[in-house]
Amino acid sequence: MKTQKDIDTNQEYKYGFTTDIESIRAPKGLNEDTIKFISNIKKEPKWMTDWRLKAFSRLKKLTEPNWQKPKYPKINYQDLYYYSAPKSASEKPKSLDEIDPKILETYKKLGIPLQEQKRLSGVAVDAVFDSVSVATTFKGELDKKGIIFCPISEAIIKHPELVKKYLGSVIPLTDHYFATLNSAVFTDGSFVYIPPNVKCPMELSTYFRINASETGQFERTLIIADKGSYVSYLEGCTAPMRDENQLHAANVELIALDDAEIKYSTVQNWYPGDKEGVGGIYNFVTKRGICKGKNSKISWTQVETGSAITWKYPSCILQGDNSVGEFYSIAITNNHQKADTGTKMIHLGKNTKSKIISKGISAGSADNTYRGLVDINQKAINSRNYTQCDSLLMGNKCGAHTVPYIKNKNASSTIEHEATTTKINEEQLFYCNQRGLNQEEAVSLIVNGFCKEVLQQLPMEFAVEAQKLVSISLEGSVG
C-alpha cells in the first residue's frame, strides 16, 4: 500500500531536477542516446530499454502514413525534444492573472473550481493541496481491492511481470510509424490492473493521479481487466489543457479477459489553433483494445472537440467468442480544425457483436471525416455489426465525409450501415428562437440533441461538462 510518504518521495523525485532545468532535458533529436537517456532517467530495467531500442530499430524502416484526409506540414523528428522534466514552480505562471483570459472564460462556463483551474492551467500550486489527500484516500480504497492504478513508469519497476506480458500485446512494436515511435520514446502514462472478479468501485481518472499532468507528447496507457472484472476509465479532462506540444502520439492498449468489461471515455479539448488555423495540436493517437476472453466487452466513448488535426481510430479486436465492441463518438470541428476519425472492429470470435455510433459536426471551414473498418473474419460466425454515422453541417464552407470499409468473410454474419448528412435546420432554429432562445442557445440545444446517443454513454459527472463543451466549441459558428 502506498503511503503519504511514498507520494511525497515521488513528488520530490519528480521535481528534484528542477534546480537546473537544462540538465534534465534530453538533447534534441531522435536516436539511441535519447532513448537510453529516457530509460535511464526513469530507472528502467534492461528489458525495458531493450524493448524501446527494438522499437527504434524498427522505426527506422518505417515511413509515416499519408493516406489520411487532413494533410500537415512535414515534421522534423530530429528537431524535437523527447524528454523534458515537468516545469519547476519558478517557471510556471504565478497566478491565474498570467493565463489567457479566454481560457479562464471557458473554465468559468464549465464551472471548474478555482483550485482546479490553477492545476489545469499549470499555475504553480503549494505543495499541499486538496488533491493530494483525495488521491491518498482514493488509493487506499483501490489497494484494498487489489486494484493497481499508477503511472506506467512505476508499474515497469513494481509490476514487471504484468507489463512484460501485456505491453505491446495489442499494439505491437511493429505496428505503424506513430505507434512505434511512441514505443521507443514514451515518457509516462497510466497503468491499470483489475484483479479477477473485481468491479472497480469508482471511475478511474487521470484527475486523481497527480503525477499525470505534463506527461508530454508520448503518453502510454495500459489497462488490463482480468477475468470477470469491470472498470470505467476516464481520460483527460473537459477543460482545455495548457499544452505547448505540437505532436501528440499516444498509445493506449486495453485488454479484457473472459467476462471482463472495460469502458474507456475520452473528452479531448486540446488547443485547436486560432480562428485562422494557426497553431494547434496534432492529435495522432493509437488506441486499441482486445476482447481476449469470451463474453468480454470493450466500449470506447470519445468526445473530440479540440486539436488542429485529430487522427485516430479507437479499435476493438473481438477475439473471444461472444465478445462485444462498442464505439461512440462525437467529433466537432470548427474554424480550420480537421478530423479523420472512426474505429476498427475486427471480428475473430464466434457470435461477436459490434456497434458504432458516430456523430460528426462541422462548422466554419472545418473538415470532418468518419473512417471506419468492420472486418468479420471467416471463423467469426453469427457475428453482427451495426453502424450509424451522422454528420451535421453548419454553414457552407465546411465538409463532412464518411468512408466505411466493410469486409464480411462469412455468410452467417450481419452488417448494417446507416449514414445521414444534414444541415442545421433553419426552421428548427426559428422555432427555438421563437421560444426565447438566442442563436447560441438554440444551436447548442439542437447539437446536443444530435449527439445525445453518445453523450448519454458518458459517466454522469463527465456528461454535464461535455454538454457544455459541445456548446462552447461551436460558439460563434452560426452568424
Binding site: F430, Y431, Q434, G436
Partner: protein, 243 residues
C-alpha cells in the same frame, strides 16, 4: 398592444403582404381568415421576426417599433407563435426544452430562473389542464407526436410562457373535435385583460369555441373586410369569392 401600419412584405421580389393595417388592444381576440395563399402564415412569421422577408411599414408592439428586433427578443418580450407545423427536434427532451424556454423568457423579464422541482410542478399542472399525458414530456420534442399532440404541445408552451400576444397559425387544422375543444379551452382559460390573441384559421368551427371580438378577412395580402364574430358564419356559407 400591437399595431400594424401599412405592412408590406416580399420574398425574392414577390409581394405577399400588400399594406396590412391592424390594431389589437389588450384583452381582445382577433381572428384572421382568408383563402389559401392570401398571406396569413406570412403575417404570423413576419410578426415573430422570421428571417428572409423584405418588409416595409411599421410593426409596433407595446409602443415600440420592432421591425428590426430579433426573433428571440420579440419572444422574450411576449410575442408567441403557435406553429402550424411544430418542428421536431431529435434528442431534445420536451421537458428540458420547455424549461430552457421558460427560463429564457423569465431571465429577459428580470425574474429568477425556475428550478427543476418547481418547473415540474408547474408543467404537471398545466399539462393536466390540457389533458396531456405526462409521458409526452419525457419524450423527444415533437418526435413521433401525432398532429394533435404537437398542437396541444404548442398550447402548453403558450400557457407556460404567458405571452402578451399569442398568434395561433392554423392551430385547428388537422385536429379532431376533442382536440379542437381542448385547444380552444386552453386559449379561453388563458385569456386575461392584459393579453391578446390573433387566431389564424380557415374554418369557422374553431371560432365556435373561441369567440373573437373581430374577424378580418385577408385576401391578396390585404385585409379586405373586418367584422364581428358573425362574419365567420357568413363566410362559412358564402365563401371568400364574393368579397
Amino acid at each position: 398592444m400591437l399595431e400594424i401600419k401599412n405592412l408590406k412584405t416580399s420574398v425574392n421580389n414577390k409581394t405577399i403582404l400588400n399594406g396590412v393595417n391592424l390594431k389589437i388592444k389588450a384583452g381582445e381576440v382577433h381572428a384572421i381568415m382568408g383563402p389559401n395563399g392570401s398571406g396569413k402564415s406570412t403575417l404570423a412569421n413576419v410578426l415573430s421576426g422570421k428571417n428572409g422577408y423584405e418588409i416595409s411599414g411599421d410593426i409596433i408592439f407595446n409602443g415600440k417599433k420592432i421591425n428590426e428586433t430579433p426573433i428571440d427578443e420579440r419572444a422574450q418580450n411576449g410575442i408567441f407563435l403557435a406553429f402550424q407545423y411544430p418542428l421536431e427536434i431529435p434528442g431534445v427532451n420536451t421537458n428540458n426544452f420547455l424549461k430552457t424556454s421558460l427560463n429564457a423568457v423569465r431571465k429577459a423579464k428580470g425574474e429568477k430562473e425556475i428550478d427543476t422541482l418547481n418547473f415540474l410542478k408547474l408543467v404537471k399542472e398545466k399539462s393536466k389542464e390540457l389533458g396531456i399525458d405526462e409521458k409526452f414530456l419525457s419524450r423527444q420534442l415533437n418526435v413521433g407526436f401525432s398532429g394533435g399532440e404537437k398542437k396541444k404541445n404548442e398550447i402548453l408552451q403558450m400557457k407556460l410562457l404567458e405571452p402578451k400576444i399569442s398568434i395561433l397559425d392554423e392551430t385547428d387544422s388537422g385536429l379532431d373535435i376533442d382536440a379542437l375543444r381542448i385547444v380552444a379551452d386552453g386559449v379561453n382559460s388563458s385569456k386575461t385583460k392584459e393579453n391578446a390573441f390573433l387566431i389564424i384559421t380557415h374554418y369557422q368551427r374553431l371560432l365556435d369555441y373561441i369567440k373573437p371580438d373581430f374577424i378580418h378577412v385577408l385576401s391578396d395580402g390585404k385585409i379586405v373586410k373586418t367584422g364581428k364574430s358573425d362574419l365567420g358564419i357568413e363566410l362559412e356559407k358564402s365563401g371568400y369569392t364574393n368579397l
